[in-house]
Symmetry: C2
Subunit: 190 residues, 2 copies
Amino acid sequence: MSTSSEDLRAIALGEFATAGYSATSLHRIADIAGLSKSSVLYHFSSKEALLEAAVAPAIDRMEQILEGLESNSLAAEGRAAFLVEFVDFILQYRREVHIFINQGPSLVAVPVIDRANDLVRRLAAFFAANTASLEEKMRFGIALGGAAYMLCTEDSLALQSAPLDETRAALVAILTGLLSPVEAPQKTED
Amino acid sequence: MSTSSEDLRAIALGEFATAGYSATSLHRIADIAGLSKSSVLYHFSSKEALLEAAVAPAIDRMEQILEGLESNSLAAEGRAAFLVEFVDFILQYRREVHIFINQGPSLVAVPVIDRANDLVRRLAAFFAANTASLEEKMRFGIALGGAAYMLCTEDSLALQSAPLDETRAALVAILTGLLSPVEAPQKTED
DNA sequence: AACCTATCTGACCGATCGGTCAGGCACTGT
DNA sequence: ACAGTGCCTGACCGATCGGTCAGATAGGTT
């Protein structure tokens, strides 16, 4: 409820995403917030709890999207709707997604990250089940990891300060091209 | 020259890529190698030196590719040749590239990583100079980050144990689709 | 024999890590 | 005035970090 907790959550989220979880000390988070390390541990009982608070909303939303995806049919329009939903998700929670994608494998044994890893695996399994092709699986991995990377590396690349709706439209177009079932593939042999 | 040095380099490369540089202790590297921490520091004067030894070959190769790209013209066939060259590079040095891409921003102040970050920026600037479109820049970022992610997360995704040449062909096809200049863009207003 | 070098090791160091604890301070209700 | 509560703090703890150092061992050279 207090502003400090929310401030700390936001600061931690940014630092965990940019510098990495294990490379970010509680002391550093406290300094940025203008508090002492003890105060951070007053609001969050441990560093793990702070990570959990930072990424939990994104995981909940992700789980919600995935359940809807798995329960519904996979008609072409359903797939397109999912894609827009997923783009909005990744835009809203870009830092959280960046944490899952880049630090998920290294943060096993952290329960909240294990949940995220399971979700990624479920999503991958879903796509793999519908496409046995190696290239399609690779397209999925590139779309997922690439979007997470690109949206959190705007500065280092040349694409800072673009209007959100333009970014959104472009991302939908790119991911559609990457993930849509290839109806007219480059190899039309038969 | 001794096998220990090369073993340590390989172990460190794997651990730095999967667990992260700051999350990997010298003790852990020594344990995997069956040596003591002191022995690791005998072969490499510091943890940073070990990181540098692990990724330097990839950086050298990357720099070589980039110089060739910047000096040559950018005709369509030149671009296609670069893409194949780049795919082979990223396949050979996938773990090193994964380190650059995912831990580059957090490992500033490490000279060898700064070199890598500069190379990524130069590559991004090169693509940005030839394409002012936001979507093209995003495509570049997704291709770069996505390939690095996908090639190092084969296990978590569903695409383990594919023949290398199949992976190579698919990656060339995907990146070609992502990076080839859109000759018939959706916005043809003028 | 003596010597040198390469490789490896345990003991040790200061710094920093995440986390605990007792208490200070301001405010509120009684 | 008093007690309770929310927020914050410095002092402190054990563990682990990267790194140093003085040797131990082995093999090769003379």
